[in-house]
């Protein structure tokens, strides 16, 4: 290609170049900021991995906490975390999705719903320790659930409910009006349109919101401490699945427990530096769990986007 030499071309080129400078500047700025943020996370993670490296191994996952740092493990912590998350999903999913469906599809547009909507958003900003206090009064004492897995699961469910509701509403809203009209035009009722069309087509978005909510809940410490979870648990809850009839039991719901972040907090606060290694290893694993869950959320969203593109 031969460069144009006309005066007008020259002028134009210089003008465009000058304006395009801002494009390049912005890209530069954006990349710098993004890398700074990502690098911080990466360094944090690598630092935890390096500090905790001596403790990684099968034993760490299968041992109870111990006074001897070298023998202590996170068995009760990860089992506790898993069971608490199970309760959280079981409660937050149906309640959150139902609330979102009501608000998005059924609620009349008036001042009452407007206030309701504003407050759902507000709830997302309430400090988690406040939820802990509420749960201590309500679940632990009023409902007499004690310092149990059920109480913790309910607390975290309450905590992530606003996240689930907001994400679900967004997913429901993404279903185009034309699809709803198509179903209505065939004589479907409001509920049929919701159950046969709107909900199935927004499953991807709903699951994504749910997982993002869970990855918030998995690292929550304050509300769990507030409701009185123990830091030192050297036994497991009753197994939910047994070998004898009726095979499934729910006594584990009322068992005491500990969770990953509390275990970590406990080790961090010990003066013996050997426990700091344990804390770092547990931290790396917790962070890994969160990243894994977010990864699943991204994958789920990607798969559903591919399946349904309007």
């Amino acid at each position: 290609m031969v460069a144009a030499t006309g005066v007008v071309s020259e002028q134009l080129r210089r003008d465009v170049q000058r304006r395009k400078l801002f494009d390049r500047l912005f890209v530069l700025l954006g990349m710098t900021v993004m890398f700074a943020a990502l690098a911080t996370l990466a360094i944090l993670f690598l630092d935890l991995v390096r500090d905790g490296a001596p403790r990684f191994g099968w034993d760490f996952f299968t041992s109870f906490p111990s006074r001897n740092a070298g023998r202590a493990g996170i068995l009760s912590a990860w089992v506790g975390t898993s069971l608490v998350m199970l309760v959280t999903v079981a409660v937050a999913m149906p309640v959150g999705v139902a609330a979102a469906i009501y608000l998005e599809e059924y609620a009349p547009k008036n001042w009452f719903t407007a206030i309701l909507e504003i407050n759902v958003t507000n709830l997302a900003g309430v400090p988690s320790i406040i939820y802990g206090l509420l749960a201590l009064g309500l679940f632990v004492y009023q409902f007499n659930l004690g310092h149990s897995i059920a109480a913790a699961g309910l607390t975290l469910a309450l905590l992530i409910l606003p996240i689930v509701i907001v994400a679900t509403r967004e997913a429901l809203r993404a279903v185009p009006r034309s699809i709803r009209e198509a179903a209505y035009a065939l004589g479907a009722t409001h509920w049929e349109v919701t159950a046969h069309h709107v909900l199935p087509y927004s499953t991807g978005g709903i699951l994504t919101g749910m997982i993002i909510g869970l990855s918030r809940a998995i690292g929550e410490t304050a509300p769990i401490i507030t409701i009185g979870a123990l830091a030192f648990i050297a036994f497991l809850p009753t197994p939910p699945i047994g070998s004898e009839y009726p095979y499934v039991n729910f006594t584990w719901l009322s068992d005491p427990f500990t969770v990953m972040p509390i275990q970590m907090f406990n080790w961090v606060s010990r003066p013996d530096p050997a426990f700091q290694v344990n804390a770092a290893a547990a931290g790396a694993i917790l962070l890994g769990m969160t990243l894994l869950m977010n990864g699943i959320a991204i994958y789920v969203r990607y798969r559903y986007r591919k399946k349904i593109n309007w």
Partner: protein, 298 residues
């Protein structure tokens, strides 16, 4: 698009008796209405399927339709034409009570469906009942993101049909009627969204036909399609006349002239003129109709 043979140059629109007429020069190109005497006779003698009487419609305080009265004849195609915002789609959506989905809307007057003598816009009539007997095809093809089979079967399922065998029969029948069967019979389980735009629209027609509606409403069904797909849909509408009453909203004068037996011209919420299509396009009695058809506005 009219073919070369069809598009004859401008001729005065007055002599309607010649049979070759009517052709009218318009701002949009040449319009062509072929007068088929046999078809006209049938159209004139067809029983009345629906009658709107003094139909007004309000969005809140805004009156979108002003006391319309019109007769829709059975198994004929009635076209609604008029400039954007004239209320033709609003009128169409009264027939299946689509407006009931929007809060703050109100109907006055009546649309009586014959032979049942039921008022479609009466408060006492459930819109869901109305929609189960009056089908609709929309402007933009809107298949469900489900399989082709499930798309067509949906209306049947909603109406309570459970037998897999019967549903399969009806689905095939509807797809044949929508001239889509041959193209999709080997891939009934692929997504409706995997079809081309024109096929998607025919799938939507099949979906609406499956429940045997008494009237089928078309809301600018070809405005999102290319000319070839448009031609196929128009052919399809011509054959649908055999089995169902059709009301079609269109922006395309040629389409109205080609596919319809009756045409209603609307302007700012009012029905200006309603007559046989051949009459409207050759010798309209209202100045406004003539101005619109010849492309002076709209």
């Amino acid at each position: 698009m009219p073919t070369e043979a069809e598009s004859t140059p401008f001729m005065p629109a007055t002599d309607t008796d010649t049979g070759i007429l009517p052709i009218r020069e318009s701002g949009r190109g040449t319009l062509h209405v072929s007068i088929d005497e046999a078809r006209r006779n049938v159209a004139q003698n067809a029983p009345i399927k629906a009658r709107a009487e003094g139909l007004s419609f309000y969005y809140g305080d805004f009156q979108a339709l002003k006391s319309l009265s019109i007769e829709i004849r059975e198994k004929q195609v009635t076209a609604l034409i008029g400039p954007s915002g004239c209320g033709k789609s609003t009128f169409l959506r009264c027939f299946n009570r689509m407006h009931d989905l929007t809060p703050g809307t109100r109907y006055e007057g009546s649309i009586t469906l014959y032979p049942d003598n039921v008022d479609l816009v009466a408060r006492s009539v459930d819109p869901i009942e109305v929609r189960m007997r009056i089908g609709m095809v929309f402007q933009k093809p809107n298949p469900f993101p489900k399989t082709i089979f499930e798309n067509v079967a949906y209306g049947l399922r909603v109406s309570g049909m459970r037998s897999r065998l019967r549903i399969e029969e009806e689905v095939e029948k509807a797809l044949r009627n929508a001239a889509l069967w041959d193209e999709v019979k080997d891939r009934m389980d692929s997504s409706g969204l995997s079809l081309s735009g024109g096929q998607q629209q025919r799938l939507c027609i099949a979906r609406a036909l499956a429940t045997n509606p008494e009237i089928l409403l078309f809301d600018e069904p070809t405005s999102a399609l290319d000319p070839i797909a448009t031609a196929r849909i128009e052919e399809l509408i011509a054959t649908l006349r055999e089995q169902v009453t059709v009301i079609i909203v269109t922006h395309n004068m040629q389409q109205a002239a080609r596919v319809s037996d009756y045409t209603a011209f609307m302007y700012i919420g009012e029905l200006i003129e309603f007559d046989e299509t051949s009459k409207i396009f050759t010798n309209p009695s209202q100045k406004a109709t003539e101005d619109y058809i010849t492309g002076r506005y709209g």
